[in-house]
């Protein structure tokens, strides 16, 4: 082993006037950055392993700690930045693929922030959601071409639909990638607020069956934990083809994270790696996808909508059209900023396209083909706030998925180290000591609060536009104007420029 060239990325500053040597920071840091020096009788830190998760900062009872970027700098170089140099040191040391967690953090344009919303003035009144009804109910699923009504009664039932009280769901995160307490928090919040959470590809832990009516069960390329009761347990089934953070590649849950419960739930031996292949090995074409869709529908007696989740890639519009024709009831599209528990850094930062464009292109294409009504569109990666939700629906989405936002509500501080399994917030870890830091009661309350807060904000924005039901916003691109966008970008988004 040669000398490591890596230096700390962060600097921990301890205000010694405030520090009472209580050692909370020592106990809280799973990365073992803080330690108590018995001889000196004081708490010290070695920042090399610090990930800046802010756990010690938040927990310090005297607010003695702060973490900031290390002041240490390489010689200025606009091309060979510190990140570029450090990546090479790591790879030269390990010979491995660079890993990371959470979504793409590169400074690409955020198109949500290049769109502005409309509001009513004079010619039509805005509506006050505190005084007038404001409806957000959303149905996801295949809509028939027409209704068959006889004697004032529905003669043929419409295909199964997910009924959402708010057009926001919790996106797929597997048991394994996140803790059971994190999943319980989201499941309870989903039930409380009338929406859904998604199991991800990790199967359904036995404690979670009670939330079945608010669960979307996922079938991914590894087929972990997929069995008849699992399929029956959920309100809908989602076939995961791809994920925005790592389009085109599979997943890898290291054996260390596969303890007894994960092993039981995933139906794999304890301590073995759980490897999801890049493709489904029974889906090499669109007709194969169709077969899986119908197999799942057969297995569940056509009682549940089937969703297909794909990553937003260049040809997403044509792919989505194929998926609609293959029989999917819902298409979930995950943009290149979508989060992950672990992804190869270069893939995460360089593959895929922004969800704003993918959504606009898919919605337009499905309309051109006259099949938009046959499927629902759910978009993900990265919806950061209620305004993003409103813009997504105006562009053409039926609903959105949030995951990173939901985890931040549970305490995630975006340190991007989920893949280490040492999440100090009890979210992306299976370590029992860490997991119990997240109380599912409190987690559920926080996640539900987030949904409710966004609901209020969405209602305010809708009312401002003179709209009192979310369906009148869907695909209503006249409510959007682009700012700082090129002619071509405006054209693809299908919106006018500000002032037009």
């Amino acid at each position: 082993m040669t000398l490591s060239y890596l230096t700390p990325a962060f600097l921990i500053e301890r205000d010694n006037k405030r520090c009472i040597q209580c050692k909370v920071c020592v106990q809280q840091c799973a990365n073992e950055v803080h330690r108590f020096d018995e001889e000196e009788g004081e708490v010290l830190a070695d920042e090399l392993n610090c990930v800046n998760c802010q756990r010690c900062v938040v927990m310090c009872p005297t607010r003695a700690l702060s973490v900031r970027k290390s002041p240490n700098e390489f010689r200025q170089n606009a091309n060979w930045t510190a990140d570029a140099i450090k990546s090479i040191y790591i790879q030269a040391e390990t010979g491995g693929v660079l890993l990371t967690g959470m979504g793409n953090d590169r400074p690409y344009p955020i198109y949500w922030d290049h769109m502005l919303l409309n509001a009513s003035q004079v010619t039509n009144p805005s509506i006050d959601p505190l005084r007038e009804p404001m409806e957000l109910k959303t149905f996801l699923g295949r809509k028939p071409d027409s209704l068959v009504i006889e004697n004032g009664k529905l003669k043929e039932k419409i295909p199964p639909q997910l009924e959402l009280d708010i057009p926001i769901m919790f996106s797929a995160m597997s048991f394994g990638s996140i803790s059971l307490n994190a999943i319980k928090s989201l499941a309870r919040a989903a039930r409380q607020e009338g929406t859904f959470y998604n199991t991800g590809e990790g199967g359904l832990h036995k404690d979670l069956y009670e939330y079945g009516a608010n669960t979307i069960v996922q079938v991914a390329s590894g087929r972990f934990g997929v069995h008849p009761e699992y399929l029956q347990a959920g309100a809908a089934i989602e076939i995961k083809i791809g994920q925005g953070a790592k389009p085109g590649i599979g997943g890898h849950l290291p054996g260390e994270k596969v303890g007894r419960e994960v092993s039981e739930t995933r139906m794999i031996p304890e301590g073995t790696d759980a490897i999801s292949p890049a493709p489904h090995h029974d889906i090499y074409s669109i007709e194969d996808l169709s077969q899986l869709i119908y197999s799942l529908k057969e297995a569940t007696n056509y009682e549940k909508p089937v969703s297909v989740k794909i990553a937003a890639v260049h040809n997403v519009a044509a792919i989505a059209s194929g998926i609609a024709r293959a029989g999917a009831d819902i298409i979930a599209i995950d943009g290149y900023r979508g989060g992950t528990g672990a992804a190869p850094l270069r893939i995460r930062d360089n593959v895929g396209i922004p969800i704003e464009f993918a959504l606009a292109a898919v919605d337009s294409r499905l309309r051109q083909e006259g099949i938009r009504n046959q499927v629902s569109l759910v978009v993900a990666g990265s919806i950061r706030n209620s305004a993003d939700v409103v813009k997504a629906i105006a562009l053409g989405a039926d609903a959105v998925y949030i995951a990173t936002g939901a985890l931040i509500a549970l305490g995630c501080h975006m340190c991007q180290k989920c893949f280490t399994g040492k999440c100090n917030w009890g979210i992306a870890t299976q370590d029992p000591q860490l997991v119990k830091r997240l109380n599912p009661e409190i987690g559920a309350q926080r996640a539900a609060n987030l949904l409710r807060a966004w609901k209020h904000e969405i209602k305010e924005m809708l009312g401002g536009m003179g709209i009192n039901a979310i369906e009148s916003l869907r695909g209503n691109r006249l409510m959007l104007r682009g700012i700082g966008l090129t002619e071509k970008e405006l054209q693809i988004l299908g919106i006018s420029a500000v002032g037009e």
Binding site: S120, N124, P133, F139, G152, I158, N468, L473, G475
Partner: protein, 379 residues
């Protein structure tokens, strides 16, 4: 400035309508008087009327009313028309020279029958064949515009105050069993005759007061089914929604109303299970046709007249009955002007339609569960 149709122009308005449920025809004089009393609700930039039962001599022919910019485009259209239709009769729409109306385009009417061989070859129903022709002319032929295309009915409209437009088109000389009228208050000056109301497709005519905030959603949904929203007006979209739901989907009026001005979820949750399931399905499937934002519309068809408000009543509408007559207008004054002592006057609630059907109407109409006080003149 861009012509209307290229840009979308919001506008406020006055509307009025009246019908005789026995189908007895009466002169257009009353409707002119009624809309004239609401003069201040328009600004002289658009007025129009629709009359039903006005062409008894050609009652089985499609009556196409055209605006032409010049003779050349008229010839182009006539070539096309002759190819697809047999022209039974044609003439300029009679007008009266008045001081108030200027810059009128060439206004011509044709009574036509689709060539049955071509209809059969096209493989679509006759009405669809006519609709396609109308859409084609209006979206593809510059300088020609079909503003009326139904049987035994006609729209008359232009730039000016509605009472002047009525006078210009000599509506006092026509007799119809339904009349609707519109006075427009657009927010800028398009000065284009096609932009005025009513908007029609086949025998459906719509006059509308409001600015719908769901326009983008409604329009993009309709475009999937071949409707071309050339005018970019709310009214055009309303007419197409009616056409889509009633003619193409074959839905009954109550379902159409439940789609366009859906009951609120808190009302739906109180319905009996069967009805709840139906209304839920209507909202789930036709949600994109929910009309949101303020509107008050009057829809005329050969079978009767429907008035509808947005579901939280952001625009005025008043209804009244007297004997066999039904009246609906933006203001009560417009009704009292021509019917000083109605039997009954009421302000319909938001989302609650006023449906006036001819006694011998053929429409599929069933209000199975009427726990809402929905009023039909013939019920």
């Amino acid at each position: 400035m861009l012509r209307e149709g290229v840009v979308r122009i919001p506008s406020g308005c006055a509307i009025s309508g009246m019908m005789n449920k026995k189908g007895k025809c009466f002169s257009g004089e009353d409707i002119i008087k009624s809309i004239a009393i609401m003069h201040d609700r328009s600004n002289g930039l658009g007025g129009g009327f629709a009359g039903y039962g006005i062409y008894p001599d050609f009652k089985d022919d499609y009556a196409f009313h055209f605006f032409f910019d010049d003779d050349t485009v008229k010839e182009t259209v006539e070539t096309l028309l002759n190819k697809q239709f047999t022209i039974i009769f044609d003439e300029p729409v009679p007008t009266r020279k008045t001081k108030a109306i200027k810059d009128a385009p060439i206004i011509w009417r044709y009574f036509v029958q689709p060539k049955s061989k071509m209809v059969i070859q096209s493989g679509i129903p006759e009405e669809e064949y006519v609709v396609k022709f109308v859409m084609k002319v209006n979206s593809e032929i510059e300088g020609a515009y079909i503003f009326s295309s139904g049987k035994n009915m006609g729209a008359f409209k232009g730039v000016g105050y509605p009472e002047d437009i009525g006078d210009f088109f000599r509506l006092d000389e026509y007799k119809g069993y339904i009349w609707t009228a519109h006075g427009r208050f657009p927010t800028n000056t398009p000065g284009w005759w096609g932009g005025a109301h009513p908007f029609t497709l086949l025998d459906i005519s719509v006059v509308h007061n409001g600015e719908i905030s769901s326009y983008g959603t409604n329009r993009r949904f309709l475009e999937m089914y071949g409707y071309k929203c050339t005018l970019q007006t709310d009214t055009e979209v309303m007419a197409y929604i009616f056409d889509y739901l009633m003619r193409r989907q074959g839905l009954s009026l109550d379902v159409v109303v439940a789609a366009m001005a859906s009951p609120l979820w808190m009302e739906i949750n109180r319905m009996d299970p069967e009805k709840r399931e139906l209304v839920k399905a209507i909202r789930a499937v036709y949600g994109s046709l929910l009309v949101n934002g303020p509107f008050s519309i009057l829809v005329g068809t050969n079978q009767g007249m429907i008035a509808l408000n947005d579901r939280i009543k952001l625009r005025p509408s008043v209804a009244a009955t007297k004997g066999d007559f039904l009246y609906v207008a933006s203001e009560e004054s417009a009704i009292r002007e021509i019917c000083p002592k109605p039997d009954k006057v009421w302000a319909p609630r938001g989302g609650e339609p006023v449906i006036g059907l001819l006694e011998n109407a053929q429409v599929n109409y069933n209000f199975a569960a009427g726990e809402n006080e929905r009023i039909a003149i013939n019920s």
